[in-house]
Structures are given as structure tokens and as C-alpha cells.
């Protein structure tokens, strides 16, 4: 019974992931009249959070525009690389250590995210480049 539930959940997640990828490949979230939800933090407080611009950055990455992706969200591309490395070590390179398995990894990620969030809200050069 539990195995069946797990399979159903896996299939649902798989379908959702594939449709999300297709959605972000073909539609540009930057176009105002489309139906992409805006960041709730930016909509309510006017602050660029660490994730702001990630939908646009995903669209850029899926269309192989790394430079634009970095412009929309500096951390998304590194995040994809880090998670990609983690998945590789989990399924293929079993003798390699995932970067995420280091003891200090969470605290480093936390500092980077918070620092990024503060810096990208500064309204003067060169930090304006960090805004989405």
C-alpha cells in the first residue's frame, strides 16, 4: 500500500516537474500579461528577497542564456550547479563527496543568502547590478 502511494506521489511530482520545465522553457515570466505569480515578498513589502528574479532566471537558463540568468538572480546558477553536483554524487559518482554534505555547508549557504539579500536592495552602484 505504502509503496503504491510512494509511486503515485513520484509520478505526480514527475508530471508537475516536466510541465513546470516546459512552462518555463516556452513562456517568459517577464511578460506582464502572463500568469506567473509575482514574489509575495516583493509585492507586499517592496523588498527584493534572495529568490526574486528566479523565475526569470530559470527561463533564461532553460534557454541557455547564462549571462541574463545571472543578471536576474546571481545565486540561481550557482544553486543549480551545487544541487546538480549533489544529485550526481547521490546517483552516479558515489565515491565523490557532495558539497552539501560538508558540516559547514548550511551555515555558509545561510550567510551567502542573507548577504546577497541585503546587498541587492542597496540602491547604488555597483549593487544595482544585483537587483533582479
Amino acid at each position: 500500500m505504502q509503496a503504491v502511494t510512494k509511486k503515485v506521489i513520484t509520478v505526480i511530482l514527475g508530471v508537475l516537474t516536466v510541465s513546470a520545465v516546459l512552462l518555463y522553457v516556452f513562456f517568459n515570466p517577464e511578460e506582464e500579461n502572463l500568469f506567473f505569480a509575482k514574489c509575495p515578498i516583493y509585492s507586499t513589502m517592496g523588498i527584493h528577497c534572495a529568490g526574486c528574479g528566479s523565475q526569470r532566471a530559470v527561463h533564461d537558463l532553460l534557454n541557455f542564456r547564462i549571462e541574463q540568468a545571472i543578471g536576474h538572480n546571481l545565486l540561481l546558477f550557482p544553486a543549480v550547479v551545487v544541487i546538480g553536483q549533489h544529485l550526481l554524487t547521490a546517483y552516479f559518482l558515489k565515491n565523490t563527496k557532495s558539497w552539501l554534505r560538508y558540516t559547514k555547508a548550511p551555515i555558509i549557504i545561510l550567510v551567502v543568502i542573507l548577504l546577497f539579500m541585503v546587498l541587492r536592495n542597496l540602491k547604488f552602484y555597483p549593487f544595482t547590478y544585483l537587483a533582479p
Binding site: I41, A50, L75, A79, P106, I109, I113
Partner: protein, 95 residues
Amino acid sequence: MENNTNIPPKPDNYLVWAILSTVFCCLATGIASIIYASKVNEAYARGEYAEAEKASKNAKMWALAGAGISVLIWIIYLAIFGFAFVGGIMNAGSY
């Protein structure tokens, strides 16, 4: 320390999910999840395995909360957008 066989495996810290949740949805739940992830590591390194297990459960809970909130936001958003869309079509039809 002399009895190595008693060391349980390290509990999952759900760091990947914490990162995904921070990037794509909810800063607050994501950061909570990352903090608990680091607590898992620290407690495990100190040898406090029960503590690490507890932090792992919290990390999982916050990661799931982030996923849940993002799904909720999308449902609400699509509901509103869906109504506006259908309304637009019906309006267009009445002209």
C-alpha cells in the same frame, strides 16, 4: 568514542529542499529550514544524536511548509487569474 558501532547514521538535513524552497518561494521557511539543517550537522558532529534527529525533523517540517505555501500561493493565484480569464472571455462574448 571507543564504541564506534553505536554511532547511528547521520540524519538527513534536507538542505537541497531548503535551498529550493528559499529560491522559489518562501524566504522565511527556507531560512528556518537551512538553520535546522546546520543544527543537524553541528549536533551530529558533537555526538548529540537525539538532538540531530530532532533538528532533522524540524528541517523537514519547514521544507515541507515552504512547499505547501508555494502550492497554496499558486492555487490562489490561478484561481484569481482563472476567474479573471473566464470573465474576460465571457465579456468578450457578450459584445
